[in-house]
Symmetry: C2
């Protein structure tokens, strides 16, 4: 080993989720939207003047922040945008979780929270979900340096009620409470109205799921102007120009097409509810989901074996060989046709391997 | 002040450089390229399928890393790409400058180095440039936790010779030495060939200047596979998907058009050399520049006053009211027409205010 390596920050290499690429695949593993983005986005790309790329983008991202602010009824100064909600959340961890006290989040939740805590050397405690994979808000009424809650939670899809979110906010005036609402548009209730009452709340959302734009990398946070100011100062100390010109154009086009957004989220919710029934008819246990995925388990079927069998068919779902969830699969809601193909396979598989 | 604010990471708000937007302006303040990107980039945008944005981009950025690797004669595993060289450099600071010993860089250099050091709480020492604004490599042969050198340096445009770069590399086997080559394509000599001999070298370049794509946000680092591995592990702990699908397509198109790259960099160099002569004819002192800008001062003219007068004319250059450089202006090389307009104004201004 060379001497310079003594000064290297070592981190557990985080392995990004599998991104298989087969022409015939059914990709239900990373919670992407099965529908394309708004046609207005393709129009924005087609109308984009490549020559303008010679100039830096607007570091303040005014156009996109104004469009988001208008959509959510807040001021542009209350909006922060970043390179996907991962960028926004990582910056928020760095900005707001700057204490020696541990931050709190569930043991089963978005898998990046502990990764960011490790990266920024933030102490943390993972509080166990209840046996039914829901959060007990009372667990979050203890000393802490910050709280992050995915709501609806991933990979469970379970929603924490607004009353419980409010319990956590009210009980922690000394902590920033981040509510990560990546999946809220599929039937969940946003904490945004609570911003009027609680200045320790930061709500984070993304264009990757309900706006069908995982490939463009846009996430955003909404909070008090003061909170967004702190976040922006840290971001500007890292990189003033994270959002490129094409991204800003596409983002504005997407957020302005409210009708399309309503149309595709309604379709996904309808497909999800049909999928719940079909999973249950095959003997799966399926908790209620307010997200664009279902977290399923089957009393007679090994999740790992089913995951592998689906993979053979080029049907990709998500499996974690982790404590408490190693008998579950997370299945993203695809189109009706994709779900039909999934269930056609599952019917055969269960007939052969299970006792449903 | 609310209680949650006790846990906030406070940073000096870094104010991004001015981005004026007047239709008639001559923008020579942020070292952008006066020419558009390769026409292949516009073709890539026009050919881009908006529907593909529903899917996450390739987290490994293979297409772009392969194109860059091919261009520079290295392996794709030796290439890291990020959201502009600011993202790449910030990640590199976090990854490689992870010691209690101070990192070293010049007192007059790219203004983000101390900002990143502050953000990541890396101790640092700013070593004064010599009176002629060049680096004495012997200054860098002292205990340190890492070194970063912009070469050519900004805002001076001065180049440090390869022999001197090698002195620094050879004298610091215990430190990562980052050579920030944002401006190298305008007549400088890259340190890339030194990678064969020194495994503590990381070279960082950008698409924002010589590839005319400040608006797309692409920077890259080239180093040993091992070094790039460390950097990638830290990046993946922050955000696995920093490069969006449109960016990757545009980046590949740009780097593959070598002829266009050679054409515009040669034009900028030719315009720069003419500008040097014209500045000198007006009595300015102009050190040799290997960048797409000149760092000029005039014995009889106040830099601050000239900066303000140019601004009135909507001619934007860069001025810092800072120790040692408050009588200098940094002027980006524009088109010949833009430079003609600049000099037409300067001739009148000097006649009126100076004794040239």
């Amino acid at each position: 080993m060379s001497a310079w390596q003594d000064n290297v920050r070592r981190v557990e290499p985080y392995i990004p989720g599998e991104q298989p690429d087969f022409p015939d695949m059914i990709k239900l593993n990373t919670n992407e939207c099965p529908y394309p983005p708004s046609p207005k986005v393709s129009e924005a790309v087609a109308a984009f003047a490549g020559s303008s790329l010679r100039l830096y983008p607007d570091p303040n991202c005014r156009s996109l922040r104004e469009a988001i602010a208008k959509r959510y009824g807040v001021a542009p100064e209350q909006v922060f945008v970043g390179v996907g909600s991962d960028d926004v959340l990582a910056m928020a961890f760095m900005t707001f979780f700057n204490s020696e006290k541990p931050i709190l989040f569930p043991d089963i939740t978005y898998s990046f929270y502990d990764v960011w805590a490790e990266l920024y050397r933030i102490p943390y405690v993972q509080l166990p979900l209840k046996d039914d994979f829901t959060i007990d808000p009372k667990d979050y009424l203890r000393e802490n340096g910050g709280i992050v809650i995915a709501n609806p939670n991933a990979p469970t899809g379970a929603e924490l009620s607004q009353a419980h979110i409010e319990t956590i906010l009210a009980g922690n005036p000394g902590s920033t409470v981040i509510v990560d609402e990546a999946y809220v548009d599929f039937g969940g209730t946003s904490a945004l109205p609570l911003l009027e009452k609680y200045d320790n709340l930061l709500v984070v959302q993304t264009f990757s799921k309900s706006r069908a734009m995982a490939g463009i990398r846009i996430g955003y946070a909404i909070g008090s102007g003061e909170m967004i100011g702190y976040l922006t100062a840290v971001r500007n100390s890292f990189n003033s120009y994270t959002m490129n010109r094409l991204t800003l154009s596409c983002g504005v086009a997407a957020v302005e097409d409210e009708a399309y957004f309503q149309e595709i989220t309604a379709k996904i919710i309808a497909t999800r509810e049909r999928a719940v029934e079909r999973f249950r008819a095959l003997g799966f246990i399926v908790p209620e989901s307010k997200a664009n995925f279902l977290f399923v388990t089957h009393p007679q079927i090994s999740a790992a074996a089913l995951f592998a069998a689906l993979r053979e068919e080029h049907i990709f779902v998500r499996y974690w060989n982790k404590k408490r969830i190693s008998e579950h699969l997370r299945v993203t809601i695809g189109t009706d046709e994709q779900m039909d193909a999934l269930f056609a396979f599952l019917e055969k598989y269960i007939k052969k391997n299970g006792q449903a």
